[in-house]
């Protein structure tokens, strides 16, 4: 077990006042809150912060922690002193920290978050909800998917503090899910207490990047490269969509940046979005004499000033 320097986690001196502790928590919580932060380690940092604050804001816990002394280094191998009585700081499932899983270091010093000196609650309570994220491909969002999730949930029914249960869930994700939407797995959160019902598991859906298609809400965007003659003369072009390839008619006289809409070919089950095709005219390189001659003939025969609106 490693020693945790709670003052370092919160960026505080060991003689910090209660006000300074509160201010530091609020500032760092805004920075690392998983709902707010884009930093890679935000969730881990926020958990550490919550644990540090749980100790330092409580005068009794802080005094006990301070009694360990200031010579410990963060991450140093730690065993509690022989006279340490452990537990006795019980805070039940009503307290703010009840849904957090704290470190072994915390639990050794102060007892498990749920147990008050290893006395389980006898009041019937609904289990905690659990929240997680799931990243799926665009194809899976469109057609539905099955994923196996590995979950670790607290198990109050097993004796002893901090008992965990590992479970495997095979989750069927319905077709038409949209990024940012939430999926609910009823009764798959933490088990209830004293016969209470289990909590729910909520999954926030994120999409893995697709090489061709970009999703915005329910709508899907595709940049479609076309030739100058396809743009000028129009034509039928095969394009990829979520539901498979479709033929699209390019109107004659099309320009780069022009958008074509394929209604109802986006994401969503009840009210699907659309697919937008954004045309991008690509010119063939003039690398051969014949190609140069063709461009020169076009310049002569197709007088055209794309900058006329600039009056230059």
């Amino acid at each position: 077990m490693q020693y945790k320097d709670y003052y370092k986690v919160m960026g505080l001196a060991r003689d910090a006042s209660a006000d300074e502790i509160k201010r530091a928590y609020r500032k760092l919580a805004r920075k690392y809150h998983p709902d707010v932060s884009r930093e890679a380690q935000a969730e881990e940092r926020f958990k550490e912060l919550g644990e540090a604050y749980e100790v330092l804001r409580d005068p009794q816990k802080r005094a006990a922690y301070d009694r360990l002394g200031s010579s410990w280094q963060s991450g140093q191998e730690f065993t509690p002193p022989p006279e340490w009585h452990g537990g006795g700081f019980g805070f039940g499932p009503d307290s703010e920290g009840a849904d957090h899983r704290f470190s072994d270091f915390f639990e050794t010093l102060f007892g498990h978050a749920f147990h008050s000196g290893a006395r389980p609650s006898t009041t019937m309570q609904r289990g905690q909800d659990q929240h997680s994220r799931i990243a799926i491909t665009l194809a899976e969002a469109y057609s539905g998917a099955t994923r196996t999730l590995h979950l670790t949930t607290p198990d109050w029914r097993v004796g002893g503090a901090g008992a965990q249960r590992e479970r495997k869930l095979q989750v069927r994700i319905p077709a038409g899910v949209v990024p940012g939407q939430q999926i609910r797995l009823a009764g798959q959160g933490s088990p209830g207490v004293a016969g209470g019902p289990a909590g729910d598991l909520y999954l926030d859906v994120a999409l893995q990047p697709h090489p061709l298609l970009q999703v915005e809400g329910r709508d899907v965007y595709l940049t479609l490269p076309i030739t100058p003659w396809e743009a000028a003369l129009g034509g039928q072009i095969t394009v990829p969509t979520l539901g498979g390839q479709v033929d699209v008619r390019i109107p004659a006289g099309s320009q780069s940046g022009q958008k074509l809409r394929l209604k109802g070919r986006g994401l969503g089950s009840a009210n699907p979005g659309d697919q937008y095709i954004v045309l991008q005219i690509l010119t063939p390189p003039a690398t051969t004499a014949a190609a140069r001659e063709t461009y020169e003939r076009m310049a002569r025969e197709l007088p055209f000033n794309p900058r006329s609106h600039m009056e230059v």
Partner: protein, 109 residues
């Protein structure tokens, strides 16, 4: 680790799913008055006139979860939490817009 996975079907919290006031109170562990305050502050908008006939779309649950988490974890009031939720949603919309525009301009990847 158990070998057998339990098969479960997920419910997508979209327009097809609705919750009553009582159901949301139970799911969130909230008092009725606290949830009514969330409606009055504009965090979620139910269909129906009277609280007993209110019907909340499935997406409401995510907004409520997020606002309540922010309220508790950041030690801010409900109004501040709602403002944060709205700004986070706006930021996500703009991030998606930027990704789309970068792709269309050929600068994103």
């Amino acid at each position: 680790m158990p070998d057998q996975a339990t098969a479960v079907t997920a419910t997508v919290l979209d327009d097809n799913v609705t919750f009553s006031l009582a159901q949301l109170c139970e799911l969130l562990g909230l008092d009725r008055d606290d949830l009514v305050a969330c409606v009055q502050e504009g965090l979620v908008e139910p269909r129906g006139i009277q609280p007993q006939t209110w019907s909340f779309p499935g997406q409401a649950l995510k907004r409520l979860h997020q606002a309540l988490r922010l309220k508790q974890d950041l030690e801010i009031d409900l109004g501040g939490a709602i403002l944060a939720v709205e700004l986070l949603e706006e930021a996500e919309r703009l991030r998606m817009r930027i990704r789309t525009l970068e792709m269309l301009l050929g600068t994103g990847r």
